[in-house]
């Protein structure tokens, strides 16, 4: 465990030195810039679009970070020959792989937390500004009307379901990192890993459709059925983690469903890590 933690810490430092957190500046600019631009809309539209854009950007950045950061780890260590120094010590290949993955998970967690914090602060500031403005505009009107208007703004600005959205985004990013690491264990270059991971990402979003068609259709040709079956069984169902779109639309996620989704993500991570470790054991370095 200590060895895994040490490798995770080194991986984390390595990734931070690659200046991956610079994307946060772009994210902050995007969210803050949008909050100014969206001020011309009604407050309901403004909050809806701010959530749409911020959570959408969080999903994009975390997915990109998960794939790109993980894809470079093994090839870089092999190229720099640091992997030989590490594996010459009493560190198993599984520990090495898990340490690397833990380092990426740490990075992704911090990235999602920071993006969430930027979004939260912008949302809070806009809510407060609107509350203040409404109070000024509605001066002299009955207290009941003022409270109703303020309540509407508060409800639009403070949505506890957004937290569930952040959790789902993080689990999906972890899953993508584990999947990329799995590909990386048999890939020969970072480019191949990146392209393959993106291909799996897109196929993963269509997997649910393939599965439904495979299970429901009785008329398809045998070859089509086999192809759809393989697609459904081998590729992950990434649509299961696309709950953010509905969260920003105001749909609440019940806790059991959130837990089931997180558990499914953890299952994927465990299997991809185990298979990745098995392949890495066989690999000639």
């Amino acid at each position: 465990m200590r060895r895994i933690a040490a490798i995770a810490a080194v991986t984390w430092t390595e990734l931070v030195r690659m200046k991956v957190f610079y994307f946060l500046i772009i994210f902050a600019l995007l969210v803050i810039g949008n909050s100014f631009f969206l001020a011309k809309f009604s407050f309901e539209e403004e909050f809806q679009m701010l959530k749409d854009i911020a959570l959408g950007a969080m999903s994009i950045f975390s997915a990109l970070l998960a794939i790109l950061a993980t894809a470079t780890l093994l090839p870089k260590d092999i190229e720099d020959r640091t992997i030989y120094t590490i594996l010459a010590k009493p560190v198993s290949r599984t520990e090495y792989l898990l340490g690397k993955l833990a380092g990426v998970f740490l990075l992704l967690t911090l990235a999602v937390l920071l993006m969430g914090a930027v979004f939260g602060v912008v949302l809070l500031l806009r809510t407060q500004a609107l509350l203040h403005l409404t109070e000024l505009e509605m001066q002299g009107l009955p207290a009941q009307e003022l409270q109703a208007a303020l309540g509407k703004i508060r409800r639009a600005g403070h949505d506890p379901n957004l937290l569930a959205g952040g959790i789902v985004i993080l689990v999906k990013a972890w899953l993508l990192a584990a999947m990329t690491m799995f590909i990386s264990t048999f890939s020969t270059s970072a480019i191949f890993t990146t392209i393959s991971a993106f291909a799996v990402y897109f196929i993963g979003h269509l997997q649910a459709t393939a599965r439904e068609y495979w299970l429901a259709s009785n008329e398809s040709a045998l070859l089509t059925k086999v192809a759809l079956g393989l697609l459904a069984l081998i590729f992950p169902d990434l649509q299961a983690f696309n709950l953010v779109d509905d969260i920003v639309a105001g749909t609440a996620i019940p806790l059991p469903i959130l837990l089931k989704t997180v558990a499914l993500g953890c299952g994927y991570i465990a299997v991809y890590s185990a298979l990745g470790a098995a392949i890495f054991h066989q690999r000639e370095l």
Partner: protein
């Protein structure tokens, strides 16, 4: 040979995991849909509307982001009073985010109120007949947005209320409006004034006067907060019309008092303020 066997084992393990997770994913999928998660269907028609790139982005899990960008485009179209383009963009946005009540509501309002009035007063169209036909077309479009929105959000009282307002103000369909308000009032979180609005419309629906009278009496019996002069006046009117025995009648509204101003949300469309 050993290597081939190893890879067969890895692929076998992946397939086995696939078989194990298949029922779990199916059940999770069903549970998510049960609570209205992931209900949007992205069909080929939408791809033609929003373009290949946006469609690919929507398929890859960025539906809400694409919807927000299209909504901003629709807003620009509004500023340019390009009503036809707006209608197309609204179709795309609501297809991408069918669970967003706000998008359905605003799309309907823009069509049935703004676009319809612009069509009626279009200075480029000399024919009054064509202007009125275009106006009616936008009313119909606004109604369709609400009806589709209700199908996608059966738990939203707001869309039912908006449908009631639209039927009342643009279609003069008092019976339809009364039914829409009644459905809205029965939903969770609906403000109490919606029930009154339903009763007002029902009182103007021919053949359902008795039903309207019973409803108004029921509202009146709910307490002092519901003793609005308009409620009392309508009860009095219906008592006359239905020839209710004098012993069962309600005391009339004091003379000289007209119907009171509507409460917030009771008159026109709220976005029209």
């Amino acid at each position: 040979m050993r290597l081939a066997g190893f890879w067969a084992l890895i692929i076998g393990a992946l397939l086995l995991f696939g078989l194990v997770r298949l029922p779990l994913e199916k059940s999770l999928d069903a549970s998510q849909r049960e609570v209205h998660l992931r209900t949007a269907t992205l069909d080929i028609g939408l791809r033609e509307q929003i373009g290949q790139l946006s469609y690919a982005a929507a398929l890859s899990g960025f539906r809400s982001l694409v919807a927000a960008v299209l909504w901003i485009q629709a807003h620009t179209a509004w500023e340019e009073t390009a009503w036809g383009r707006m209608a197309g963009l609204f179709q795309s946005v609501t297809s991408l985010q069918p669970r967003s009540v706000l998008y359905w509501d605003l799309s309907s309002w823009h069509m049935a109120w703004n676009a319809a009035i612009a069509a009626r007063e279009n200075p480029k169209e000399p024919s009054e007949f064509l202007r009125l036909r275009a106006e009616r077309e936008y009313h119909r479009l606004g109604r369709e947005f609400l009806e589709q929105g209700i199908i996608n959000n059966p738990d939203s009282y707001l869309l039912q209320e908006r449908l009631g307002i639209l039927l009342r103000d643009k279609f003069a369909d008092h019976c339809g409006a009364a039914d829409a308000f009644a459905k809205a009032a029965a939903m969770e979180g609906a403000p109490p004034y919606i029930k009154r609005m339903g009763a007002y419309e029902l009182s103007q629906c021919q053949g359902r006067e008795r039903e309207a009278y019973d409803l108004l009496r029921k509202i009146y019996a709910m307490g002092k907060n519901e003793h609005a002069p308009r409620v009392i006046a309508l009860i009095n009117e219906l008592e006359e019309k239905l020839d209710i025995p004098s012993g069962e009648r309600l005391a009339p509204v004091p003379s000289g008092r007209d119907y009171p101003p509507f409460h917030d949300g009771e008159h026109g469309h709220p976005h029209s303020h």
